[in-house]
């Protein structure tokens, strides 16, 4: 039990120190090729680009909407159980979550069509791990306080158990087309190769103990719970077998799953950028509109049923001839029968976390590159309005992600400034459920053909990163060929 609790807390706080999904700094930061990955319809002005394998795009992000690592683990001399009670149980609600996403780009390549210079093609592969766990408030209170004392009459919501996680390798191919001087649209197809997936997101039921109608206490439970897993048991069996080749076996299975040997899925991204006038642009994108069909290595666990019990009950004269002395075991058997728990291998579909971005941007401050010196115009002789002409941009962005308990939004205001053609800086302020003080800063440095970018969120928390509800870091190297080099 102690080990289980430790593992749960460790997972929770490992999650809390890695990554969440919003990439507000990268969004519409079109100097960085990876911005294509979050808006396939972003303006592209490159001739081609190649991401430096493995380090072209690394992002780690962690979020906790309730407690922070520092709240619990600060070396402050306060009793740990008291901290858990006061800072976790008394504060966090069942909509608070611990979220984590990490992403690493295997490779990425983009090039402009020779015969169709309006089109920019890009393809590549990246790995992604995404875990979200809502705080199981009622179950935690049940474990800490029990059903007795002040909790007599309290209904514990079994639906509070809500967790989803997956590791997936993604192969993708996208087309970005300049439809006209003012409009760029893009689409990206994705093939998901699942490494593992688990979800327990449609649980319902309750457990309540009340003053009984017959006996002193009466407990009632009704449950409809399920944990679906795909790809987990394969790894578990290898580790459990402990054959001496565990590491090799895990690596072999992992490689197989990365290269389309596991469960597969399909997805699409859409996006656009529309220049309303010389200085105003709106953009939008929908990402990961897709699913994975989990049919291999599936292992699901179910727990459902309902029952009411007030203990052993003998009513005379009805039970006068009942000489059974195993009444306690009979009661246990009855409860077991009323609450069947089982396993099955039924295939299931898991939906990818759907994401939506939108933005409006106002460019100002003449002094950038002249209108005729449009990186994009060289391949699009039709020309257009040169966004590079303006040094500054100001705007707002909206991000929404579909999570198991609903849509999770984030609102961002940003300021972007170009320092010559080599350096672009972007500063953001973001409000979401994790933080109202999230100030981020990013830069893209162009040194000849070499592009380096680094984007970091929630800088105000860096004085004590353990006390942060949200942390994010993205960076990468690319080789970019502009149209004039």
């Amino acid at each position: 039990m102690r080990m289980v609790c430790k593992i749960v807390l460790a997972v929770v706080f490992c999650c809390a120190t890695t990554f969440a999904q919003n990439k507000q700094l990268l969004y519409d930061f079109y100097e960085i090729p990876q911005s294509l990955m979050i808006n396939p319809g972003v303006k592209t002005s490159h001739k081609w680009h190649v991401g430096v394998p493995v380090i072209s795009g690394i992002s780690v992000q962690g979020a906790s909407s309730g407690v922070t690592v520092n709240d619990l683990f600060a070396n402050d001399g306060v009793d740990f159980t008291t901290k858990v009670q006061e800072r976790l149980l008394d504060v966090m609600g069942n909509r608070d979550d611990f979220g984590s996403t990490s992403q690493i780009e295997g490779f990425t390549i983009g090039f402009r069509g020779k015969n169709r210079p309006d089109d920019y093609y890009s393809f590549g592969m990246y790995g992604e791990m995404d875990v979200i766990s809502y705080w199981p408030k009622d179950l935690a209170i049940l474990a800490f306080e029990g059903n007795g004392g002040n909790n007599i009459g309290r209904s514990f919501d079994l639906g509070d158990l809500n967790v989803r996680g997956e590791m997936v390798n993604v192969f993708h191919f996208g087309i970005n087309r300049k439809v006209n001087p003012d409009l760029t649209m893009g689409i990206r197809g994705k093939l998901y190769s699942s490494i593992f997936q688990f979800q327990s997101i449609k649980n319902s039921g309750s457990f309540v103990t009340t003053q009984g109608t017959n006996n002193i206490f009466e407990s009632a439970i009704n449950a409809d719970m399920q944990l679906q897993t795909a790809g987990v048991k394969g790894f578990y069996d290898i580790v459990d077998e402990d054959s001496g080749t565990t590491r090799k076996d895990v690596e072999r299975l992992f490689s197989k799953r990365v290269l389309l040997g596991g469960n597969l899925g399909l997805g699409l991204d859409f996006g656009f950028s529309h220049q309303l006038n010389q200085q105003t642009t709106i953009t939008g994108s929908i990402l990961d509109l897709g699913f994975i069909y989990n049919a291999k290595d599936v292992w699901n666990y179910t727990f459902s049923g309902s029952t009411v019990t007030d203990g052993i009950s003998v009513i005379l004269p009805d039970d006068i001839n009942n000489l059974d002395n195993d009444l306690w075991q009979d009661l246990i058997d009855e409860i077991d029968e009323a609450l069947p728990h089982g396993e099955n291998q039924e295939a299931y579909i898991s939906w990818r976390p759907l994401k939506l971005y939108g933005s409006i941007r106002y460019d100002f401050g003449e002094g950038g590159n002249p209108l005729s010196d449009n990186c994009g115009c060289a391949v699009n002789p039709g020309g257009g309005i040169n966004r590079d002409y303006y040094r500054n941009s100001l705007g707002g962005q909206l991000f929404m992600i579909k999570r198991p308990k609903g849509i999770q939004p984030a609102l961002t205001g940003f300021y972007q400034r170009k320092l010559g053609r080599a350096i672009t800086l972007k500063a953001t302020y973001t409000m979401d459920k994790y933080s109202y003080t999230n100030v981020g800063l990013g830069t893209s440095l162009q040194m000849g053909p070499v592009n380096f970018y680094v984007l970091a969120d929630n800088l105000l928390s860096y004085s004590n990163i353990a006390d942060s509800h949200y942390a994010s870091l993205q960076f990468g190297f690319n080789i970019i060929s502009w149209n004039d080099n």
């Binding site: 683990f73 049940l142 009950s313 003998v314 009513i315 306690w328 080599a422 860096y462 004590n464």
Partner: protein, 185 residues
């Protein structure tokens, strides 16, 4: 060359930003060892109900109910190792015309009586008789519960077998429940 130096300086600035600037207060993850989970669990244990006719049928000064039941709730290893303290709650109600005695023996696995609770219940009680028996420091020994493997419950009529109460639907009811504190961690 000047531009290159400028760029390098910026890169260095960012490197510092994420290494030196970011810091954290001292954390002690070993505190998790100090986590203590001691929930209080409540449950009904035993409910006995008998109408007056059944008591009369058993005869005067006789036992109208006698049963030994296996009861391993407390001596399950997982429970017995974690039981800190607890209270067994009893409630008795008697609207029959009989004076009754209800006895509960806590039996060990080999049938030894570990403890006994005796309730002498007057006839026609208007109030519910309650008794809370505490097990743990300052109370009865927890070993009684931990070693209990069965309960012997008997109901004895201390009166005649002919009288009938004027109360509506006269009966005797024994209720029992438990509130126990466990140390899960």
């Amino acid at each position: 060359m000047k531009k290159l130096r400028y760029l390098l300086a910026l890169v260095t600035l960012f490197a510092f930003q994420f290494t030196l600037v970011s810091c954290t207060e001292e954390q002690n993850f070993d505190q998790i060892e100090d986590l203590s989970l001691t929930p209080t669990l409540s449950t009904g244990i035993f409910y006995l109900e008998s109408d007056e006719a059944s008591i009369n049928q058993a005869g005067p000064f006789n036992s109208f109910y006698f049963q030994e039941v296996n009861f391993d709730a407390f001596n399950e290893e997982y429970v017995s190792e974690r039981l800190l303290e607890g209270t067994i709650l009893y409630e008795l109600e008697n609207t029959t015309s009989k004076q009754l005695r209800v006895t509960i023996d806590f039996l060990s696995e080999d049938g030894q009586v570990l403890d006994t609770e005796v309730f002498n219940v007057p006839a026609n009680t208007t109030d519910i008789i309650t008794r809370d028996v505490y097990y743990g420091p300052g109370g009865k020994s927890l070993d009684i519960l931990i070693n209990t493997s069965g309960l012997r419950i008997s109901g004895n009529n201390l009166s005649d077998s002919t009288s009938v109460s004027s109360n509506e639907n006269p009966k005797v009811i024994l209720r029992s429940g438990a509130e126990f504190e466990f140390e899960l961690l």
